[in-house]
C-alpha cells in the first residue's frame, strides 16, 4: 500500500505527461469536491495522481462500480486509489449515491466526481447530472472546484486499452458554491460553464 500508491501515481503521471495548474486558487486540504469533464478511463486516476501527496491522501475519486470491479486489476487499482464505487444499475431509495458520498467523505475526505455521468464521446461536454446539486444542497460548506482535463481522451480513448503517451493538462479553477435558493438547472449550468471556461485559461 505504502509503496504501490506513489508508484501508481508516478506511472499515471509519466504516461499522461499531466501538468497540473491551479488557476486563481490554491491547493488546500480542506474538504472539497473536484468536478471534472469526463473523456477517458484515465481521468480519475490521472487527476488523483496529479494532486499533491497530502491532498491525494484525503481525496477519493467517485467511480462506477460496474467498470471498476470487472477485473482483478481494476479492483486492485480502485482499492489502491481509495475509490468510492457507486452502483449505477441499482439505485436504492434510502441508499442514494449522494447519501453514500456524504457518509463516506464524513468530515475529512474530499471527492473527485464526474457530473457528466458517462464518458463524453464528442468534443462538447454533456449536460451535468443533478448529483452535484443535491450534494451541495446537503453539504453547502463544501468547496466545489471545477476541473478541466485536456487531451487525456487522446491518451486513452474510449474502447482502447493501449495508451499513447501524449501530454495532457489539468486545470483547476476557483471554487463555486450553491447560492441560497438557486434553482437546480441554473446551478448545473453555472457549474458546467465553470469547467468549460477553464479550457481557455
Amino acid at each position: 500500500m505504502k509503496l504501490t500508491v506513489p508508484l501508481l501515481a508516478i506511472t499515471a503521471k509519466l504516461l499522461s505527461g499531466a501538468m497540473l495548474r491551479w488557476h486563481e486558487c490554491q491547493p488546500d486540504t480542506c474538504q472539497r469536491v473536484y468536478f471534472a469533464n469526463h473523456t477517458s478511463h484515465l481521468d480519475a486516476l490521472v487527476l488523483w495522481s496529479s494532486l499533491p501527496g497530502e491532498i491525494r491522501d484525503l481525496t477519493r475519486p467517485v467511480a462506477a462500480k460496474d467498470y471498476w470491479t470487472k477485473t482483478a486489476i481494476r479492483r486492485y487499482i480502485a482499492k489502491q486509489f481509495n475509490a468510492l464505487l457507486i452502483d449505477r444499475e441499482e439505485i436504492k431509495v434510502h441508499q442514494s449515491p449522494v447519501d453514500l458520498m456524504i457518509r463516506e467523505m464524513s468530515y475529512t475526505h474530499s471527492l473527485i466526481v464526474f457530473p457528466e455521468g458517462g464518458r463524453n464521446p464528442g468534443e462538447e461536454m454533456q449536460e451535468f447530472k443533478s448529483g452535484l446539486y443535491y450534494l451541495s444542497k446537503k453539504r453547502p460548506d463544501l468547496e466545489l472546484m471545477p476541473v478541466y482535463i485536456d487531451n487525456l481522451n487522446r491518451v486513452l480513448p474510449r474502447g482502447e486499452f493501449l495508451p499513447v503517451p501524449l501530454l495532457s493538462c489539468i486545470t483547476i479553477g476557483p471554487p463555486i458554491w450553491l447560492e441560497p435558493k438557486e434553482p437546480k438547472a441554473d446551478f448545473l449550468k453555472r457549474a458546467r460553464d465553470a469547467v468549460r471556461r477553464l479550457k481557455d485559461v
Binding site: 505527461g17 501538468m19 485536456d150 487531451n151 487522446r154 480513448p157 482502447e160 493501449l162 495508451p163 499513447v164 503517451p165 501524449l166 501530454l167 493538462c169
Partner: protein, 374 residues
Amino acid sequence: MPPVYWPSPQMLLFAQFERNIRLDARTNILLFSVMAILLVAYLVGRALRRQPESTANPAVVRTFNLRVRAWAMMCAILIAGFLLDYVATVVLFALVSFWALREFITMTPTRRGDHRTLFWTFFLFTPLQYFLVGVGHEFYGFYTIMIPVYASLFIPARIAISGDPKRFLERVAKIQAGLLICVYALSHAPAVLDLELTTADGKRRVIGMPDAANSQAHQAPPAVQAGQPAVPSPQDLGSNAGLLFFFVLLVQLNDVFQYMWSQLLGRHVIAPQINASRTWEGFIGGVLSTVLVGILLSWATPFGVVWAGPIAAAVAVAGFAGSMTMSGIKRDRGVKDYGTLVSGHAGVLDRIDSICFAAPVFFHITRFFFSNIG
C-alpha cells in the same frame, strides 16, 4: 574435434555493449571550456535577475536564463552519456526523441482512428530505431531505411485499416513528419559516436585506445594497413565524443549567432509569417560566425582546418532550415512554443529543432569522408 564457433546474434549484440567512448585530452579541454563558459553565463544571468532596475530588459534576461539552463541540461546529458558508454548515450538520446515526439504529436491534431498507429509509432518505431543505432554502424543499412521506408509505409496502411478516410493524407503526413524529425533525424547524432573515424587522407584509427596505442595499432598489422601512411600525427585526430560535442556546440552557437546578427543588423526578414525574427543578415552573419568557430575548434575533430569550415557551414545551414521548418509547423498550429500547451515556456522540441535537421547532414558528411565505411 574443436568446438565450432557460431557468432550468434546475441553475441554480436553483447560484443557491442563493451565499447567505450574515449574521452581524450582535447575533448576534455573542449568540455571543460564549455562548462566554464556556461557557469559564467549562469552567474551573469543570476546577477541580472537579482537587479530588476538594471538596464537589461527583464524578458531578455528570462529568455537568457532559460537558454542557459537548457544548455546546461544538454551538456549534462552528453557528459553523462560519455562517462557511461555508447549505449547509455543512445538511450539518453532516445528519451529526448520520445519526449520531442510527444510534444510534436500533442501539438498536432490527430483523430480517433490514428490511435493504434500512434501506439506503434511511440512504442515500436522509436525504440527500434535507437536499438538499431545502439547495436552499431554494422546496422547502418537497416537503421537508415527503417523509418523512411518501412515506418512510412506502415503508417498509412495502419490508418487505412482503422477505417477513417477523413483528411487521410494529412493525418499520415503529420505522423510521418513527427517520426522523421523527432526520431529518425535526431538518432543520427549519437550514431556519430560509433563511426570509425579517419582523417581526410584515410588513416585508420581505433576507438577506445590512447593515441600512442592507436599509432602502434596502425603500424603493427601491416597487411591491413598496407599502402597507408604510417603514423597519423596526434593533431589529426579527435575522439568521437569530442566530435559529437563539437557538433552540438556548433548548432547551438549558430542559433545564438543568427539571433545576435539579426538583432544587430537585421533589416530583411526572410519569411515574416513564419518567423518574424529571422533575417537574411542574421542568417549570413550566423553562418559566417559558425564557420569561424568551426575552424577555431577544428583541433577537436578529424576534419582539419581546411574542411572544418565547409562542414560548419553545412551544419549552420541545416540548423537554420530546422528552425524555420519547426517555426512553420508552430505557426500553422497557432502556438509560439511546443511547450506552451503544458508548461508555458519552450519545450524540448524548441531547443532541439536545429539539432534534428543538422544531425543527418553532419553524420553523413563525417561517415562518407572521415570514417572507414563498412
